[in-house]
């Protein structure tokens, strides 16, 4: 899929751990891992909203579009 999730980079910038973010936004670490590894097929607006709020960023900082070769 040409949509890439930059959650790892954002977490590093904010010096936050995955488990901490998962707890704050109210999803399981397993689901956050699905999102981080790019296995997710869709992201709910509510989840995106919570991530953006906790990491103080925009959706565009987390999701990137890259043309597949």
């Amino acid at each position: 899929m040409p949509i890439f999730v930059n959650l790892d980079i954002m977490l590093e910038k904010r010096q936050m751990k995955s488990t901490e973010l998962a707890e704050k936004i109210g999803i399981t670490t397993a689901n956050l891992s699905i999102l981080k590894t790019g296995k997710a097929k869709a992201v709910r607006f509510s989840t995106l909203e919570s991530i953006c709020r906790e990491l103080a960023c925009q959706p565009g900082d987390i999701l990137k579009f890259r043309e597949e070769e």
């Binding site: 956050l32 699905i34 999102l35 997710a40 097929k41 869709a42 989840t47």
Partner: protein, 171 residues
Amino acid sequence: MKPPILLKTILDVCFFLLLLSFIGAVFLTAMTTIFGSDFIPIELKGQTISELTPTAFVVILAELFIGGLLVYTIYILRKLIRNFFKGKLFTRYQIASLNLIGQLIIIITLGQGLIDFIATIFLEAKLRLGLEIDLSFTSFWFILAIGLFFIYLSKIFDNARIMKEENELTV
């Protein structure tokens, strides 16, 4: 969802009765082949076979093959219903089984029609072509439609599987 216990029981009874009939038919055919048609008279398409000619033998074998396919179809259907008991729906096994059942029903229906046609030509020595209207559930067209329905159902299950996967991977 409640498991389809009644359906499973009906299919179990149906399967074992069909299996017994099939084994009996194979045994009788073998006996007739060994000891001749006088041993146990075989009736085919309403006619008693007095002499086991190669044509009659081929028709009997074809009938047995179709019977075997029918037993196998019921066996697959029975296994599929048992698989539903596990609670997991829209699995690849269920999709493949539904598709196979549909294909087998179509093969059996067409095969039976062809055997009936050939048997009439060779055993009754007459050619019969016509349009029959059968107002019952044993109608050729109805059973053919059931086969196609199973294939379509497998495609619906496949779509549902994709939707289920997407739903599970929605964060």
